[in-house]
């Protein structure tokens, strides 16, 4: 810096320039943040607007009753329970499956390991929507459920059931690949030492290595929860009755039937987004972009 600013006056100019450019950057950053914060604030404003007042005007009072009304006007409580059951179950299952498989593929001599890994990597580019139509047929022919016989005929299988909604979210190739990457970065000596101390293979996996990848588990869990909680097209095709709908689907149907009740809609929007946004804020510290792109390198 001293080499570029030899004189006293040019040093002052340099400082002023620095302040001016910092002010410009702050102004741009504020503008960018406002593009996000203003619509969010508007959603809250509309959600608190009482019935009968135009959305977007300053409400005469903050009507917290819209949240109650939204839940009363449709089966939102039922939708909420459905969404919660589906998402929690899928998250737990996905974490267990991807930890187990990721660990085995990283640390244990599994026959066909390279083949399995290549298959998983290839599946990363397969769009989930490709599977929807055949998966619908498979789910409808699931044996011994919904009036189906042993060969999957005669009834409607898992259509219009919560397990049916869970099907596409119980496992994820990306989660397995990510967990494998994290386990592979851990030293093998830990396992060898535990083996000599007489710990079994499952114990080494569950008690030695898995506690070390907790941040990765948090990321996998949040993504699993998000994909199940936010899914729309699959619940749309697999459910028929109102009582099996998830929040996203229930909200869409409510919108199609009452498109002008923006205050109730926005109250529902806030309630639906709340759990997932809290989760994302909680893991923001471990959520590091490297963890996402690293899995594919």
């Amino acid at each position: 810096m001293t080499t570029t600013a030899p004189g006293k006056s040019s040093r002052a100019v340099f400082r002023w320039r620095k302040i001016a450019s910092s002010a410009t950057l702050h102004a741009i950053a504020l503008l960018v943040a406002a593009l996000y914060a203003v619509p969010m604030a508007y959603v809250v404003l509309v959600a608190l607007t009482p019935d009968g007042e135009a959305p977007g005007t300053w409400p005469s009072h903050a009507a917290f009753g819209t949240f109650v009304d939204a839940f009363r006007s449709a089966d939102f409580l039922r939708f909420f329970i459905n969404s919660a059951l589906v998402s929690v179950f899928c998250t737990v299952l996905q974490v267990i499956l991807s930890c187990a498989a990721g660990y085995a593929l990283a640390m244990l001599p599994v026959r066909g390991r390279t083949l399995i890994l290549l298959l998983l990597l290839a599946l990363l580019v397969v769009p989930a929507e490709v599977a929807i139509v055949p998966l619908f047929v498979m789910v409808s022919h699931f044996p011994l459920t919904g009036g189906n016989d042993l060969f999957g005929f005669g009834g409607h299988g898992l259509l219009n059931t919560l397990p049916g909604i869970m099907v596409p979210h119980i496992v994820s190739a990306l989660a397995i690949v990510m967990m494998r990457q994290f386990y592979a970065a851990l030293p093998r000596e830990l396992g060898d030492a535990a083996r000599i101390d007489g710990l079994g293979e499952i114990g080494i996996f569950a008690l030695v290595y898995t506690p070390l990848v907790k941040p990765a588990i948090a990321i996998v869990a949040v993504f699993a929860f998000q994909s199940a909680w936010n899914d729309f097209i699959w619940p749309l095709v697999v459910t028929q009755s109102n009582d099996m709908r998830t929040l996203q689907l229930g909200l869409t149907v409510f919108f199609q039937e009452n498109s002008t009740q923006w205050n109730l809609l926005m109250a529902a929007v806030l309630v639906i987004s709340f759990p997932i946004i809290i989760l994302f804020l909680l893991v923001q510290r471990v959520f590091n972009g490297n963890a996402l792109s690293g899995a594919l390198k």
């Binding site: 977007g56 599977a131 498979m138 929007v269």
Partner: protein, 316 residues
């Protein structure tokens, strides 16, 4: 490391040459490791086969049949594909899908890099402002679509109220064929920006400070520093972002379903939307599967091409 274990085995089996004992012990450990490996990996593999691979194989199979869920599938060869390729609506949907994905990613990646660069430097309240940008990608497309339907409403929406207050006439963002797709592109970009910004931000942190300082001392301005130091370092991450974003965008459905119903006049009809209609409105599983197969082939081909193009750029 294995000597202890070998000694234990040795005690049990009596006196044997040390190397043979060690070999047996290692073989035993490997056998238990192998068994544990199979036990741990097979549930996930079974689930993957059931939920991803079997449907893919079935999609290929159904695409060669006439199948309406009620009668058993009837073999028709390539007739479904011929029918789809001769349908102008399919070409329109394909064009819409590619236009949506391309415009969203081409503009979005530039904006994401600029915003990431902005937040990479130190700012008062930078973490808070960054969080605002990052939040919408956690919410679902249904939620974002509803919020934007409200914002873009021709009568009561705040954007149109501002336009009309300024003396303009309202823009029918979602019911004007000229605006509908552009509106959905902007909305999707708005939602996804934060996710990709975070990934790029992490990549920017990995650009070595010494390199940037050295370039600055050599007299390179911020723009040249970006193009000659930063960009080459984050190129790999940028190509990851581009591919992920593009392939995700090719699956667009929810936004159009909620906001426009595929209209006006098919202006926002996408390949997935067409597939959904074919399967669940017309109960034509064969044709819908053929579309799924074509979407699959398109995605595979495009991801290979993108990877090749971006890798070649990386090498040069």
């Amino acid at each position: 490391m294995l000597d202890d274990a070998a000694a234990r085995v040795g005690k049990r089996t009596g006196a044997r040459p040390a190397h043979a004992v060690r070999q047996r012990a290692r073989a035993g450990i490997e056998r238990t490791e192998r068994r544990a490996g199979v036990a741990l990996v097979s549930p996930a593999v079974a689930a993957i086969v059931l939920t991803s691979i079997a449907p893919l194989v079935l999609a290929f199979g159904f695409s060669l049949t006439d199948y309406n869920l009620l009668q058993p599938p009837r073999w028709v060869g390539l007739r479904n594909y011929v029918g789809i390729l001769g349908d102008p609506v399919f070409w329109k949907a394909l064009e819409n899908t590619l236009a949506f994905a391309f415009s969203q990613v081409a503009i979005g990646i530039v904006v994401a890099v600029l915003v990431a660069l902005l937040f990479n430097g130190w700012l008062y309240g930078g973490a808070l402002m960054r969080t605002f940008v990052y939040l919408p990608q956690a919410a679902s497309y249904v939620v974002i679509a509803l919020v934007w339907t409200m914002l873009l409403d021709p009568m009561t929406g705040p954007i149109n109220r501002m336009l009309t207050a300024g003396g303009g006439s309202p823009v029918y963002f979602l019911s004007d064929p000229a605006w509908a797709m552009a509106s959905i592109v902007v909305m999707s970009m708005w939602r996804n920006l934060g996710y990709f910004m975070i990934i790029i931000l992490a990549a920017l942190k990995s650009v070595p400070d010494e390199l940037l300082e050295a370039a600055a001392i050599d007299g390179a301005g911020p723009i040249r520093r970006f193009f000659y130091v930063t960009l080459p370092t984050i190129r790999g991450v940028l190509s990851f972002v581009a591919i992920t974003w593009f392939l995700g965008a090719l699956q667009m459905f929810t936004q159009a379903y909620v906001m426009t119903g595929g209209g006006p006049v098919n202006a926002t009809r996408t390949v997935v939307y067409l597939m959904y209609d074919e399967a669940f409105t017309n109960l034509n599983i064969g044709a819908a599967s053929a579309m799924a197969v074509m979407l699959f082939l398109l995605v595979v081909a495009l991801s290979l091409i993108l990877r090749l193009v971006l890798r070649r750029k990386e090498e040069s």
